[in-house]
Amino acid sequence: MQRYRIRWTKEGRTRYISARDLTSVWERGLRRADLPIAYSEGFTPHPKVSFPDALPVGFASTGEYAELTFVAPLAPDRDLARLSDTLPAGMDITTYLEVPDGAPKLARMLRATLWELVWPPVDVTELTELLNRRSDELVASERAEVIRRRPDGDRTIDVRPALLAIAASTRPTAGGDVCTVLRAVLRNDGPTVRPTDLHAALSRDDIAEPTLYRRVAQGEHVADGLHEALSAAVVPLVPDVDAEAA
């Protein structure tokens, strides 16, 4: 048995695949790539692909993770590239790490998430300034309660304990405009706080819902961003526009 941990993306049209349907999308990709994935025992065996947590439908991500168990050794550079090719467009494997026996659980390496909220290219200067002002207030506060509305009853969530870092900045769009981007590092342990809750905490009915939520990466919080779990690279809180364009 050989285990790999991978980081993968869920972008473009694959953002709409539900967590429930992902298992079969991965299983079919693995079968098309003809990789020796291990299966669970029993009458309805399932491929040993485990995901630390589910991403809400519609969210984008460059920070999905998974642990895959194979019954035979891989040539990982070649084989995982092939798997990446057989997965639907938008789902790509970007990093892998072979897992030694006795390694700590994947979830323990993913203690924080760098989230990104993206707005359309309007009101950019005002919006970025307002978001930074509200972010500073949020960081300075002791509590920041928001109401999460659910069909099965509203819940009150305190956003503050999960918030490790936050900053708004701007970024060029593919269409040649500039848009506002808010990045925040949220704790994964403790009560779940979603980036939608963060928006609720920042807006006083004066900030529109972002057009895109993205899970950028997961790992450990460090001073200027997030120490990504598998690559050891630091993902900055304020995106380095030039570096990302390159």
């Binding site: 709409y16 539900s18 999308v25 990709g29 309805t44 439908v57 005002e126 004066d206 900030i207 529109a208």
Partner: protein, 686 residues
């Protein structure tokens, strides 16, 4: 409010008459807009958004300007129900294999997205490029059953195409229907331009050739055709064998409202439109590159049609009657399709499809070879077969090598011996109980038995025989284990065109309800025997549309206007809407559904030739009423139903190389009238 997206405006839809630029062949065409950018922001607000995004493995996305002819293929139900349909996948593949053709797919949006589309001005769109229906040459819609009719009207209207054929302009798409319900397209006659009867493979290419030629003649760079050119296209289409253009025929009625005849009114069109039959299935080994969905559908598997047609002669079964004769695929072709398909798609289940899959003459070796190939792997095999005999159990044992023996399904269809003689389902009670004995003794834990009520000549005694048979089967089950179960599923019978029961009266829902309660009462002291039924009301619309004539079109249109959609869905109880439409249009259910016809009466599908002689069907109807059975003509002498001589073809069976079925011509049953909803029932059909 800062950062609010400026409301995305959908690209404007050009008015009918101004769409010609998009329709021109090849590079002369203007590419229609993609609506993706306006659809995407809506997706977070609808259920199951992945069904609208496309992009699946084996999707074919061609450039608009590279194509001379452009098809939009549609299953008029949700993606989840329609995507697995084999017929449409065959056409998608054989059309896209032609270098000058572009074929994309469309399904019905659920009501939540439809509402948002209408608000935002987003027309019916294709999955590949999210292009609008109005820009395509042909909107080809498969109608596996009658409960998609209102969805068809809705998709046209949403796609900004006039719902009436007569109002379409030269630059509107041709609306073409096929599939089993196209064997009586009269209730849709004003809305469709043409219907295709029978196997689609060859005729689709012929229609495409006609379209290509017509476009070259009329739609070249310079051409500015008037609406007369559309009539020219319809005339050319009517010249393709198997294509029926309703506008060229006119129904005439007696004073009492009965149909006198449907007469051709256009010179040169055939008085009888014959169905198309592909003689050699080996030439059409499709679909090979099956779409792999990224969201749940009703059948997620690699399916191979192992034969087409059925000659068991079950008198209630329209599929069995209209798809004759039997044409088998060779075992080695089946094996090859499966192996290549499983590798290509990554599906972990294989389905061997047909109307009665255990009847393939080499099914034993096919099943054994596939079971050998996939033994010890995670690929499972399924063979939807409901034949009532021990051989079916043996086959199921073979196919379940990798899995658990849970449930088996058999379809005796009727409870009493007499009733089974009437419907020509040649299964004895002894056969069934022996089969149950075999199944339970070999470790199966649950059997399901399918039955119908509302069959012609049925008495309460016949109905109660269903309960008795269930109780006897339960007794057998319990002998082999206290936890073993038997389920009886009972549906209301709906008479269909081109069958010996096309003349009979359908039971109204209250009568079906009464019969079901007789069964429920008779089994109430037998825990372990479960009864499954559908709401009898659900058969009303299907029955009306199945045997309705052109006057029923008014009801379809009115029901759609009043909001009827997804008529086959339990979640969408549209019957009250239909009843209102019936009242408003004065169409009478008693006349169309609950009345027995006589031999002389013209039927709305008399000018559509399924190959079966009307005289033979009548004779078989008379035999039914005197409890007379008829053998399967694969193994017994020909009884001149009319199909084979009419088409100068014959049954294509008997591939050897494996073992032949040991005992065939006795005690077998085939076909099934499944209990699930009509959309579920027809989801995998070809």
């Amino acid at each position: 409010m800062l950062g609010a997206a400026t409301a995305q405006r959908a690209p404007a839809t050009p008015a009918p008459g101004r769409r010609l630029a998009y329709r021109r062949p090849g590079a002369a065409a203007q590419t229609p807009p993609s609506y993706w950018d306006v659809i995407e922001p809506l997706l977070s607000r609808v259920r199951k958004p992945a069904q609208y995004v496309g992009g699946e493995h084996n999707q074919v996305a061609s450039p608009w300007e590279a194509a001379e002819t452009r098809w939009l293929l549609c299953y008029p139900d949700t993606y989840e129900v329609g995507q697995p349909n084999q017929g449409l996948q065959i056409l998608y593949e054989i059309l896209n294999e032609r270098s000058h053709v572009l074929a994309e797919r469309a399904y019905a949006p659920w009501t939540d997205l439809e509402e948002l589309q209408r608000d935002a001005g987003i027309p019916t769109f294709s999955l590949e490029h999210h292009r609008p229906l109005w820009a395509f040459d042909i909107f080809a819609v498969t109608l596996p059953h009658e409960l998609g009719h209102t969805n068809l009207l809705n998709l046209l209207d949403l796609g900004r195409v006039p719902i009436r054929s007569a109002e379409r302009r030269v630059d509107d798409p041709i609306v073409l229907v096929g599939g089993h319900a196209a064997y009586n397209p009269e209730p849709l006659a004003p809305f469709i331009d043409a219907a295709v009867m029978g196997d689609g493979e060859e005729v689709t290419h012929e229609v495409d050739d006609v379209l290509r030629g017509w476009k070259r003649d009329h739609l070249g760079v310079e051409g500015a055709p008037d609406d007369g050119a559309r009539r020219d296209l319809l005339r050319r289409l009517a010249g393709v064998q198997g294509v029926y253009v309703p506008a060229f025929y006119e129904p005439r009625y007696h004073d009492d409202g009965r149909l006198r005849q449907t007469a051709a009114t256009e010179p040169g069109v055939p008085a009888m439109v014959p169905k198309r039959t592909v003689q050699d299935l080996e030439e059409w080994a499709y679909p090979r590159k099956q779409i792999v969905p990224m969201t749940e559908t009703v059948h997620e598997r690699f399916s191979v049609e192992i034969f087409r047609g059925c000659t068991r002669g079950c008198r209630f079964c329209q599929a069995g009657m209209i798809t004759r004769p039997v044409r088998e695929r060779r075992p080695e072709t089946i094996q090859k399709l499966v192996e290549e398909g499983v590798t290509d798609t990554g599906f972990n289940e294989v389905g061997l499809l047909s109307l009665s899959s255990a009847d393939h003459s080499a099914i034993g070796s096919v099943a054994r070879d596939l079971a050998d190939t996939y033994e010890g792997t995670t690929t499972s095999l399924s063979l939807p077969s409901t034949r009532v005999d021990a051989f079916n159990v043996t086959l199921s044992n073979e196919l379940s090598r990798n899995g658990r023996r849970t449930g088996l399904t058999f379809a005796p269809e009727a409870g009493s011996e007499r009733m089974r003689a009437v419907i020509n389902k040649m299964v004895s009670e002894e056969d069934l109980l022996r089969t149950a004995e075999t199944a339970f003794s070999e470790g199966w834990r649950h059997i399901k038995l399918y039955f119908m009520v509302g069959l012609p000549t049925e008495t309460d005694e016949d109905v109660l025989a269903i309960a008795e048979l269930g109780i006897k089967a339960l007794r057998v089950a319990r002998k082999h284990g206290k936890a073993n179960k038997v389920t009886i599923s009972v549906g209301g019978f709906i008479p269909k065109p081109h069958t010996p029961f096309q003349w009979c009266a359908q039971d109204p829902p209250d009568e079906i309800k009464r019969k079901l309660s007789l069964i429920r009462h008779a089994i109430k002291d037998h825990g372990g025997l479960k009864l499954r039924t559908n709401d009898p009301e659900e058969g009303v619309i299907e029955g009306l549309l199945a045997r309705g004539d052109r006057r029923v079109a008014a009801v379809v249109e009115r029901a759609w206007q009043l909001g009827a959609r997804f008529d086959g869905w339990h979640e969408m109880p549209t019957l009250e809407t239909w009843r209102q439409a019936l009242r408003e249009t004065g169409v009478d259910l008693d006349f169309f559904s609950y009345r027995e016809r006589d031999e002389k009466e013209a039927l709305p599908w008399d000018h559509l030739d399924s190959g079966l002689e009307k005289a033979w069907l009548w004779e078989d109807w008379e035999d039914a009423r005197s409890d007379k059975e008829l053998d399967d003509c694969r193994w017994s002498p020909c009884y001149d139903c009319g199909v084979c001589p009419g088409l100068s073809i014959e049954h294509d069976t008997g591939y050897t190389g494996g073992f032949q079925l040991p005992v065939l011509p006795q005690g077998l049953g085939g076909g099934s009238q499944d209990l699930p909803t009509a959309p579920e029932r027809h989801a995998s059909g070809g």
